[in-house]
């Protein structure tokens, strides 16, 4: 109960701020309409108008909630959960690219980390490239990936997953290099006294030691994957996905649609990261490594 109160306070503060900003940002349009209709608005009329415009600069929370309900729960009720107007359909499109990209990025990250830890040449040469790769804006890379892959006949899910992978492998590499190097001198000396091979040291010591680092990395990688998937949806002509919803929303000035896609993406990210958090807790507790 004691932890609920601060959370509710923060949520309340966000809502107050949100409604307040909606009034401030949408007021000019409300006054503009009133002026053209030659009426004067009282303060309460103005406030009511700013919270119910069709294309507000900043939609109010209840407008976004209503839009989300219309495109999820209401669609399910009508048996059209996977129609193209449903956020569930678009969420699924994004989720599938996110998941595939996350798995690919995690694998790539782990393999690179293993190479970096075990091979001096890779240690010296790969890491600068890994860091350089992340300094290029993903928005510049994404269209090229789509175009290049399309030219060799790959389209649809894979190009988006590749962009997703491009963002998500980075935290895994960094975290796993640190994790695989977590065993101290004494533990490595101990392995040497048993004449353990590098493969044995890896499976019995390095990999288990890296688990806390891996899970921390996976949480960041998951969030990065989602961003990658959304960015990947933008240059494909907005065929589907939460990114496509944002793009079409901005074409037609549908701010409510943009915000509802935005909120859905945030909820999706929270759920995915939360799932990793649960797996992390169970695994580390069973391994006696819970902090």
């Amino acid at each position: 109960m004691r932890s609920i109160l601060p959370i509710l306070t923060v949520v309340l503060a966000i809502f107050v701020l949100w409604y307040g900003m909606a009034v401030k940002l949408n007021a000019p349009w409300a006054y503009d309409k009133a002026k053209r209709a030659d009426v004067t608005l009282s303060f309460s009329e103005m406030v009511a108008d700013t919270w119910s415009q069709n294309k507000p600069r900043l939609p109010a929370p209840h407008q976004v909630t209503r839009e989300i309900w219309k495109t999820t729960g209401a669609m399910i009720a009508k048996g059209k959960a996977f129609s193209k107007r449903s956020l569930i359909y678009h969420g699924w499109v994004t989720l599938s690219a996110t998941s595939l990209g996350f798995v690919m990025g995690t694998m790539l990250g782990i393999f690179l980390a293993i190479g970096i830890v075990h091979n001096r040449a890779m240690d010296m040469s790969v890491m600068p490239w890994v860091i350089a790769s992340q300094t290029i804006p993903i928005l510049a890379i994404a269209p090229m990936v789509i175009v290049v892959l399309n030219a060799i006949g790959i389209s649809g899910l894979i190009p988006k997953a590749v962009i997703s992978m491009y963002l998500s492998f980075f935290p895994v590499v960094v975290g796993m290099v640190k994790g695989l190097r977590a065993p101290d001198h004494m533990q490595l000396d101990q392995m040497a006294t048993w004449h353990a091979s590098r493969v044995q040291v890896f499976w019995k010591l390095r990999l288990p030691s890296s688990m806390p680092y891996l899970f921390t990395s996976l949480k960041i990688a998951m969030a990065a994957s989602l961003i990658g998937a959304i960015v990947g949806e933008l240059p494909t002509g907005a065929q589907g996905g939460l990114g496509a919803r944002m793009l079409t929303g901005s074409y037609y000035g549908q701010t409510i649609q943009i915000w509802s896609a935005l909120i859905s993406a945030a909820v999706l990210a929270a759920v995915l990261v939360g799932i990793i958090g649960i797996i992390q807790n169970i695994t580390l507790k069973r391994m006696g490594m819970a902090r």
Partner: protein
């Protein structure tokens, strides 16, 4: 009791550092016979741990020669001739006590049945029977260190190298473990090299005490203990014990005369 296990001649080890060379070991001559319990005592920086690490092939000497069981330390390490007990127990938190003791056995490729039999035997040796399924965090520091000794014993190495294994434990636990270690040594007839900071510990345990002094690390004195093999804890109050302790102290002081 006469077979030579360790033989070092003119052994030197110099670390090259940015501040110039550090003479960790200089002209060490030492022979350890089978079944001896040899303690290495001296202030920090006297090279006692370094010498243990040279025996274990964790450091390479820069001059002189050393043989373990008649072969080089590297060959000895590869033939798993010794068990090494570090200052920290170093048990893996994700493995049970039995799992930890099995770790070197798995690495050495023993069969499952053999592994289980050895785990049962060494747990009995260190008095930890019944703790197989416990995890390290469920055991006290002293019990963890006993488990780590069991792990070093599990693969039947003839030599036990111990680097201040009880250094992090309190006095009472330490006394108890010292007593147990002597019983274990009597039962298994292993050759033990034991690094310590503590004079009473060295005198109580050893058949031979190697007193070392720093800068450069060298042997100041080698004392053959005259104490009987069977040693109850209160032997530490006997005049004979105190006399040996006195000689160790003298040796340490001589090594320190210049600073």
């Amino acid at each position: 009791m006469s077979e030579t296990v360790v033989k070092a001649e003119n052994l030197s080890l110099t670390f090259e550092t940015n501040d110039g060379p550090v003479h960790a070991l200089a002209d060490i001559d030492l022979e350890i016979k089978k079944g001896e319990f040899v303690s290495f005592i001296g202030p920090s920086g006297c090279g006692k741990t370094t010498f243990l690490r040279v025996m274990a092939d964790l450091e390479k000497p820069t001059a002189g020669s050393i043989t373990i069981n008649g072969v080089s330390p590297e060959e000895a390490r590869k033939s798993r001739a010794y068990g090494y007990v570090f200052q920290a127990a170093g048990l893996y938190p994700w493995r049970t006590i039995a799992g930890n003791i099995k770790l070197p056995l798995e690495i050495m490729g023993l069969t499952k049945a053999d592994q289980a039999a050895r785990v049962a035997r060494v747990l009995d040796l260190v008095d930890l029977t019944g703790f197989e399924k416990k995890f390290p965090w469920q055991l006290s520091g002293g019990m963890q260190q006993r488990a780590s000794i069991a792990r070093a014993l599990a693969f039947d190495a003839d030599i036990l190298l111990m680097d201040e294994p009880f250094g992090a434990l309190d006095e009472i636990v330490r006394d108890h473990l010292n007593e147990q270690l002597l019983q274990l040594w009597a039962k298994t007839n292993k050759t033990i090299a034991f690094v310590t900071h503590s004079i009473p510990e060295a005198v109580y345990l050893s058949t031979k005490i190697v007193v070392m002094s720093p800068r450069p690390g060298r042997i100041a004195d080698v004392i053959e203990s005259t104490l009987p093999t069977k040693r109850p804890l209160d032997i530490r109050d006997s005049p004979e014990f105190l006399e040996i302790a006195h000689r160790v102290r003298e040796g340490l002081r001589a090594g320190h005369a210049y600073d």
